[in-house]
């Protein structure tokens, strides 16, 4: 799976959780989930479950703590896919 595909898949997951007044176009690699995309912190848990399902990986609690931005999430996904 190339980088572009991964990024698009992640964006598709994230967009469901955006508040009504934040558009999909606002998502960039550097976006912080909570402070910039205004995603409810409770929904981060759901994003992680969706990522697990989509990429067939399992994230640990420590991974969740590190996942502040879209870029962080992509790095975690890459690391998990490599160690599979």
């Amino acid at each position: 799976m190339n980088k572009e595909t991964k990024y698009n898949k992640l964006k598709d997951i994230i967009k469901v959780y955006l508040p009504e007044d934040v558009s999909v176009d606002a998502i960039t690699q550097d976006s912080n989930f909570i402070s910039e995309l205004n995603i409810n912190s409770a929904n981060l848990v759901d994003i992680i479950l969706d990522v697990e399902d989509e990429f067939d990986i399992m994230l640990e609690n420590a991974d969740m703590d590190k996942m502040q931005t879209v870029k962080d999430a992509l790095a975690i996904i890459d690391a998990k896919l490599e160690s599979k």
Binding site: Y17, N43, L49
Partner: protein, 424 residues
């Protein structure tokens, strides 16, 4: 000094209709919402029929965002949010702005047990040691106040937002609790209502108690038979009803349409003493509740011209009629008109009181008393007390002046609300 309180909006998600207009038609024409449930047959229930609102994805999408719908399986929240939003819109009240809650509007929305299907999913995941897979909404869908919490956020209410729970009394009790909050000046508007989940996990306990009808699985529409000699148990139901209660002052100031005035009422318990038990009513308590409701409303017994009973279609229906008759000191042809809407949609449990209050109040607007179905064979124990003309078998023309509505519940609890026709 109590302030006057009126009803300015209503909404309903009932087994026989969803939305106020469709529900009005269903109530007038005697349309049944009791249907065969293949799910109950598959699980080998004795009673395989129930009243369940017929939701579609398209309908849900009108009330919930795609995000709210993800993993939403608490049917009580679906019904409650639909009825609640409809009532709010019916009252032509605005949804609060983004950064400004409406401090004068509150919510009191009851439930019996909430989010049972969500709980069922969660229990399986927990037992499979997959707690981390539960997702973020298990708590909010299964907490008793989940329905008020969803509505509170959607509407932006900044006054009290809470949930009451008193078994099958819940909805009627909620009307009186919301009434008091406005009457004593603590809120201008209260969205009151109640909901009950659908499904086997809610209804199983009643099936196990052998208090549901057994012989109507092939003939569901005639199964719910309040006041009939052939009544053989209540048909389980589900759904939600909602009413916007408002101070008369607030309603007048914004020129709101008024369905009726809430005069007052009473709430009590028989203490599970005397003939009262966990599941059977103490008649003395029922009579006191009705008498106190009349006194609290500042009316005479004779002023009541229509009663909407609890009347679930068990052997206790005749006892309920006797209690009304004793409390109001009225019998025979002098007894008010009486109906039980459970004949049309079954016993909606914690939602029963609110759905039935909505239907009872609609009778003021329609200038009608909605008919009872399935009681062509009236229980002779009932006709010994009241004249059969007082139990309309079809919807009749009559301008109600004062309607008394009572609900009773497990735990030996009672509530009686008094509604009055509003005249400018």
């Amino acid at each position: 000094m109590r302030r006057r309180v009126v009803i300015t909006g209503m909404g309903v998600c009932a087994p026989n209709a969803i939305g106020l207009d469709a529900f009005t038609l269903a109530m007038k024409s005697g349309k049944s919402g009791v249907r065969f449930q293949s799910e109950l047959k598959a699980l080998e229930f004795v009673c395989q029929i129930a009243g369940k609102p017929e939701l579609t994805d398209e309908l849900l999408a009108r009330y919930f965002t795609p995000l709210q719908l993800r993993g939403l399986s608490a049917t009580g929240i679906m019904y409650g949010v639909m009825a609640g939003i409809d009532a709010w819109k019916d009252a032509q009240l605005p949804i609060a702005e983004k950064d400004k809650p409406d401090w004068d509007s509150g919510i009191l929305f009851g439930s019996g047990t909430l989010g049972v299907d969500k709980f069922h999913e969660a229990i399986h995941l927990v037992d499979e040691k997959k707690v981390r897979r539960l997702g973020s909404t298990t708590v909010i869908q299964t907490m008793a106040s989940g329905v008020s919490a969803y509505l509170g956020g959607i509407l932006g209410c900044g006054n009290q937002v809470t949930t009451n729970s008193s078994a099958c009394t819940t909805g009627t009790e909620g009307v009186l609790m919301g009434y008091e909050r406005i009457a004593y000046g603590n809120a201008e508007r209260m969205l009151v209502g109640s909901c009950s989940d659908s499904g086997p996990y809610v209804w199983a306990g009643f099936d196990a108690m052998r208090i549901l009808p057994r012989y109507y699985n092939d003939n569901p529409e005639v199964a719910s038979r309040p006041m009939s000699a052939s009544a053989s148990g209540f048909v389980p139901g589900s759904g939600a009803g909602a009413l916007v209660l408002e101070s008369l002052q607030s309603a007048m100031a914004r020129g709101a349409r008024i369905y009726a005035e809430v005069l007052g009422g009473a709430i009590n318990s028989g203490g599970q003493r005397g003939e009262g038990t966990m599941t059977a009513p103490n008649s003395e308590a029922v009579q006191r509740c009705i008498s106190q409701a009349v006194q609290n409303s500042g009316i005479d017994n004779d002023a009541i011209d229509v009663i909407n009973g609890h009347l679930t279609a068990t052997a206790k229906d005749a006892l309920e009629i006797r209690n009304w008759s004793t409390a109001l000191k009225r019998s025979g042809i002098d007894f008010p008109y009486i109906n039980s809407f459970k004949s049309l949609f079954g016993h909606c449990l914690s939602a029963a009181g609110s759905i039935e209050c909505v239907a009872a109040v609609l009778q003021f607007k329609e200038l009608q008393v909605f008919g009872n179905i399935n009681c062509e064979d009236l229980d002779p124990e009932i006709t010994k007390i009241i004249n059969d003309e007082r139990i309309p078998q079809k919807t009749i023309s009559h301008q109600p002046e004062i309607i008394a509505k009572a609900s009773f519940g497990f735990g030996d609890v009672n509530a009686c609300a008094i509604f009055k026709r509003y005249k400018d």
